[in-house]
Point group: C2
Chain length 150, copies 2
C-alpha cells in the first residue's frame, strides 16, 4: 500500500468511533477515495444501514481525501469538517461502499495555494454511499477546513 494511504489507514484505526465502524480503505486513484464497512457493524433496528454510520463513512471519506491531497502536496494540516448537507435516498441492506471526490466547481489548486499562503483554506467535497446496483443510498456535500500545523 502507498505510504500516504497506509498512514491514513493507521490514522483511521486510531480513532475509537472509527474503529467501531470496522472501515477499510478500498481504493484511491488520485481523485476518488473509496471506503468499505460491513453492514453487521453498522446495522439499525430495521436491518439496514444506520443513518449515522452512513454520515460517518461519508465524512471520513471526505476527510481522508482532503488529508491525502494536503499531505501529498507537502502541506501538513489539521483537517476539520465545517458543514455538510446529507440526503438519504434509499435503505441499504448490504455492506457500505463509500466514495469521495472534489465537488463540482471546487479546485484542489485553489485550496492548496490558499493553504500555503494563508495557513487556512476550505474545500467542498462530494461523498456518497452506493447501493449494490450502483445507484445512490445516501449522498452529501461537505465543506472541509484545513489549518496548517506549526
Amino acid at each position: 500500500m502507498d505510504p500516504a494511504l497506509a498512514s491514513l489507514a493507521t490514522h483511521y484505526q486510531a480513532m475509537p468511533p472509527v474503529a467501531a465502524l470496522q472501515l477499510r480503505i478500498d481504493g484511491y486513484d488520485g481523485e476518488c477515495l473509496q471506503l468499505h464497512a460491513p453492514l453487521s457493524a453498522n446495522v439499525n433496528d430495521k436491518g439496514c444501514a444506520f443513518g449515522g454510520s452512513l454520515a460517518s463513512l461519508m465524512t471520513l471519506a471526505g476527510w481522508g481525501l482532503v488529508s491525502l491531497k494536503a499531505t501529498q502536496a507537502g502541506r501538513h494540516a489539521d483537517v476539520f469538517i465545517a458543514d455538510t448537507q446529507l440526503r438519504y435516498r434509499r435503505p441499504l441492506y448490504a455492506d457500505l461502499q463509500a466514495g469521495a471526490r472534489l465537488a463540482e466547481g471546487a479546485s484542489w489548486e485553489t485550496f492548496l495555494t490558499r493553504l500555503l499562503e494563508r495557513g487556512r483554506a476550505s474545500v467542498r467535497i462530494a461523498a456518497w454511499v452506493a447501493l449494490p446496483d450502483g445507484t445512490v443510498a445516501a449522498e452529501c456535500i461537505g465543506r472541509f477546513v484545513a489549518i496548517s500545523k506549526g
Copy 2:
C-alpha cells in the same frame, strides 16, 4: 424510567453502531430528548469529538424524539432520517450532550394527523450538541419520515 423511554433505550442498545457510541438517555421533558455519550468512545485524531459521532448522536436524538412522539400517540411506525443539514461550530473537548426538539415552524399535530390518515408523514427536527459553557458545538436540522407499520 418511563416505559416508552426504557423501550427507546433498549432499541438504541440493540443497534451495534449505537452501542459503540456508548450513549445513554439523559432526559426527556415531553418536548426535548437529551442524550449523552462519553468523549473517550467518540474522540478523533485531534483529541476532540469526532464529527461522525456528533452527526450520529444528533440523528439518534431526532430519531428517538420522533419515535417517542409517534408511540405515545399510539401510532406504530418505522422512522427514517430523510435529509439533514449539519453545521460544526466549535471543537468539543468534553463528553457529548445532545438534544433534539421540534424545528421552528413544524407541528406535532400535523405530523401525527397525517401519519394516521395517510400512513406516512414527515417532520422537521432541530438537534444540537452543546459545549460545556452551553453554547453550540454542532447543530442540525433534519427531516424524519415515519411510515405506519402493518
